[in-house]
Amino acid sequence: MKSKSGFFVRLGLVTLLGLVGCQNQSEPDPNQVTNPPVDPVVPPTSPGGAMKSFDHDDILGNIGDVFSDGRQVLPADGQRMHVCGKITYDTLGRILTTRGIATGIASPPADSAARLYQTGANIMGVANYPARVAEADRNSTGGLTRLFDMFLAVADELLPSAAIDRLGSGTACPGTTLFDASNNCNADGFACLLGVPVSTVQLAECSASVKRIASLTSNDILRAKRMAVATIASSNFLCD
C-alpha cells in the first residue's frame, strides 16, 4: 500500500520542478509585479553572551543592524559561511604541535597521533594542486573518522599516565594542565587545547564525566580522563 506521504512528496517535487520550469521561461510574465512590496516584518535578533556562544568582547554590538542597513550577504553566501567548515590540515598540525604533540617528526611510531596525521593528509582533503583541486572546506566522513582516530591518540599522548599531563610541554601554554589534583577539568587547560574558553556547563560536565566514567571502570581515572579529552576535542574540532 502506498503511503500518503509518498503522494505529498511527489506533489512537492512536481510543484517545485514546475516552479523551476516557469522561472526558466524566456518570455517575461506580463502580470509579474516588478516592484514587490517590502516585507515589513523585522526578523528577530539573536542575543549574544557567553552562555550561548563565545563572546567576542561585545564587538558584535558595534556592527549595527545588518538587516536594516542593507549590508547582509545573499542567503546562499550566508549559509556557506555559517556552515560547519573543516579545519585546514596545516592549521590542525600547528594546533597539535603547540599543544605538545609533535606532528612533524620523521618516522613516527605506529598508531601515534603524528603517524595518523601524516598518513591522513589525503583522507583529510588536502589540496591536490596538479589536479587544480583546492583543499576541501567541508569534512568528509572519511576525514572525520581519521580526525576522531587522531584525537583518541592525542588523548593517550597528552596523558601518558594518571599523574603526567603533557599539555604544558607545548609552546602554546607552558605549564598548563588539563586536570587539577582532584581530577577536575581545568578551565585554562581545556581553553588551551580547544583554542576557546569552555563554558561553565561544559567544564562542569567534563569534571562530572571523569568521575562517572571512573566509577563505571573500576576507578580507572586514566581511562576516564583520556575519554573526556578525546570526546571534548572531537566534538569541538568537528567544525572550524
Binding site: R115, N122, I123, N139, T141, L152, T217, A228, A230, S234
Partner: protein, 478 residues
C-alpha cells in the same frame, strides 16, 4: 520497474538533476530522490542517476603485461599457432573464439576457464566481452608506465586517464575515492585531471585494509574494548550537545556525518575486507602456489569488499612485474598461471555478481564495474617461445584491455601482425598504417572510449578531458 520514459540524452540528464535539486530543496535525501525516479520513470531512469562505474585498473609493469596476452591473446598469434607451435600461446584448445554479432568484423579470443570449459565471463553475455585497443607505444621497461607515449596518458592534454576516471567517479560518494597499491614504493600511474581526488598510495592489500581500520579500533586502551567504544560514543554525543552550534540547521549535515564517523572509528574493518578463509585458494585453483596469481586474487577480493561497503570507487594495482623472458621452458607453469588468471577473473566477476551495489541496490556490483589491464609492454606476440619471449612488439605496438560492461564495442581495434601493426581511426574504426594515422590520435580516442565507459555513456563528461572522437568504440545500444 520497467516503464517507457520519453526523455533522452541531455534532457533526460537535466530532468534527473532537477529531481535531485528539488529533492534537496524539500529536505529529502538522495535515496528518496532515486525512489521517486524509479516510480516516475522506472528503474532505468533511476539507474541513470548513478553516473559512474567503479573501476579496477591492473598495471602489468616490467613486462608483466605479457601474461595477460594468455587470457586475451592477439588474434594473429592464435591464427599462426595452427601452423607454428613456437608462437607464445600454450594450448590452442584453451583459446575460446568469440563469435558474437557484437564483434561486427573484429576478432576476439578469450581464454577458457578451466572450471567451466567456457570462455572467460561467457555466462554474462556480450556486456562482459573485452575491448582490446591498440593504445600508446611499447615504453618498457617501466614499473608504472609514465614515460611519454605510454598507454594511460591522453597525449593532447597530458591528462592521466585514471585520474580522469577518478574525477568522473566523484559522483559516487566514497570514503577513500582512489586507492593505488604501490610496487616497491613506486606509485602506479595516475596522473592529473581537473577535479581528481588525490590517490591514497599503500604498499599492499593488507595496508589497503588498514586504510579503513582505525588505530583506535585495534588498541584495547582505545576503542577495541567495547566498553570504551560505548563510552566514547555516549560522551561524544553529550559534549556535542553542549557546543554553541548544536541547534544550527547549517551544521546538522556535519553532525550527521560525524555520527557515521563515530561508528566507523570504533569498527575494525579488517575482518570485513579481508578474504574469507579458503577464498583465495578457491579463486586461484592449482595456481595458488604461484605468488603473483595469489596476489592478484587477494587484491581483487579486498577491492570487491571495499566496493561492497561503499568505501572506494577506484583501485589500481601492479601485477607480475617479472619480465618473463624465459618462462616458456616450463610450459606446465605457464599454463597453470594463465589458467589461474582466468579463474581469478571469473571468480571475481561471479563474486561481484552476488553483491548488491551499495549506491544502486537494484543492480549488482558486477553491473557497475569497468576493468582495465595495461602495461609497459606486452612482449612479442610472435616471438619464438623456445628461445626468448622478446620485449620488442611489432612496430612498438602496445594495447589496453577494457571490460566496459557494454559501453564499448568488443573485440580488437587495430591489428598486430608479424610484419607490423595497423592503427585505426577511433571515429570510424577503419584501419590505417601508422604513417597515415599516428599513435597519438589512436591513444586519445582509445582512452576517450574508456572514459565513456566509466561515465556510463556520458559523452559530455568525457569532453572535459579530451576532444578526440571515439565513436567507433562507443556502444550506444546497451
Amino acid at each position: 520497474m520497467k516503464r517507457d520514459f520519453p526523455l533522452r540524452g541531455a534532457s533526460r540528464r537535466d530532468f534527473i538533476k532537477g529531481v535531485f535539486a528539488a529533492s534537496a530543496a524539500l529536505g529529502l535525501g538522495p535515496t528518496r530522490a532515486l525512489e521517486m525516479l524509479d516510480e516516475i520513470g522506472g528503474s532505468a531512469l533511476a539507474a541513470g542517476a548513478i553516473n559512474a562505474n567503479r573501476t579496477v585498473h591492473i598495471v602489468g609493469g616490467d613486462g608483466g603485461f605479457a601474461w595477460f596476452t594468455l587470457v586475451w591473446p592477439v588474434p594473429g598469434t592464435i591464427t599462426e599457432l595452427q601452423t607454428n607451435s613456437t608462437v607464445p600461446f600454450d594450448d590452442m584448445s584453451k583459446a575460446g573464439k568469440i563469435t558474437s554479432g557484437a564483434l561486427e568484423d573484429r576478432m576476439l579470443y578469450q581464454r577458457k576457464v578451466s572450471s567451466t570449459g567456457q570462455p572467460l565471463w561467457a555466462n554474462y553475455g556480450e556486456k562482459k566481452l573485452v575491448t582490446a585497443m591498440l593504445c600508446g607505444t611499447n615504453t618498457g621497461h617501466e614499473t608504472a608506465p609514465k614515460n611519454a607515449g605510454n598507454s594511460n596518458t591522453i597525449p593532447t592534454g597530458t591528462i592521466g586517464a585514471f585520474a580522469a576516471c577518478a574525477s568522473i567517479q566523484t559522483t559516487v560518494q566514497s570514503l577513500v575515492p582512489v586507492i593505488g597499491l604501490n610496487r616497491n614504493a613506486v606509485m602506479m600511474p595516475y596522473g592529473n585531471a581537473t577535479g581528481a581526488p588525490s590517490p591514497a598510495g599503500v604498499p599492499d592489500a593488507n595496508a589497503m585494509i588498514n586504510l579503513f581500520s582505525s588505530s583506535a579500533s585495534k588498541l584495547m586502551t582505545r576503542l577495541a574494548d567495547p566498553n570504551n567504544a560505548k563510552l566514547y560514543e555516549e560522551y561524544y554525543k553529550a559534549f556535542l550537545g553542549l557546543v554553541k552550534t548544536v541547534d544550527r540547521a547549517t551544521y546538522q549535515r556535519a553532525y550527521e556525518d560525524s555520527r557515521v564517523a563515530i561508528s566507523l572509528v570504533s569498527q575494525n574493518l579488517g575482518s570485513v575486507l579481508s578474504p574469507a578463509p579458503g577464498q583465495v585458494d578457491a579463486w586461484c585453483g592449482p595456481a595458488v602456489i604461484d605468488a603473483k596469481v595469489k596476489e592478484i586474487a587477494t587484491n581483487l577480493i579486498v577491492a570487491a569488499n571495499a566496493f561492497k561497503k561503499g568505501l572506494c570507487s577506484q583501485v589500481t594495482f601492479p601485477s607480475f612485474n617479472d619480465d618473463p623472458h624465459f618462462v616458456w621452458s616450463d610450459l606446465t607453469r605457464v599454463s597453470r598461471i594463465a589458467d589461474g588468471l582466468a579463474l581469478v577473473f571469473q571468480s571475481f566477476m561471479d563474486y561481484m555478481n552476488t553483491i548488491p551495489d551499495p549506491v544502486d541496490q537494484s543492480k549488482k556490483l558486477s553491473d557497475n564495474l569497468v576493468m582495465t589491464v595495461c602495461g609497459d609492454l606486452a612482449k612479442g606476440p610472435f616471438s619464438n617461445r623456445n628461445s626468448d619471449w622478446a620485449d620488442a612488439t611489432p612496430m612498438a605496438s602496445n594495447w589496453m584491455y577494457v571490460m566496459s560492461n557494454g559501453y564499448m564495442k568488443p573485440g580488437w581495434f587495430g591489428q598486430v601482425s608479424r610484419t607490423g601493426k595497423m592503427n585505426y581511426d577511433p571515429d570510424t574504426g577503419k584501419l590505417y598504417t601508422p604513417a597515415m594515422f599516428p599513435d597519438t590520435k589512436v591513444t586519445d580516442g582509445a582512452l576517450g572510449a574508456m572514459l565513456y565507459a566509466v561515465s556510463r555513456g556520458n559523452d559530455r563528461r568525457v569532453r572535459d578531458f579530451t576532444t578526440a572522437s571515439y565513436r567507433a568504440m562507443s556502444n550506444v545500444v546497451l
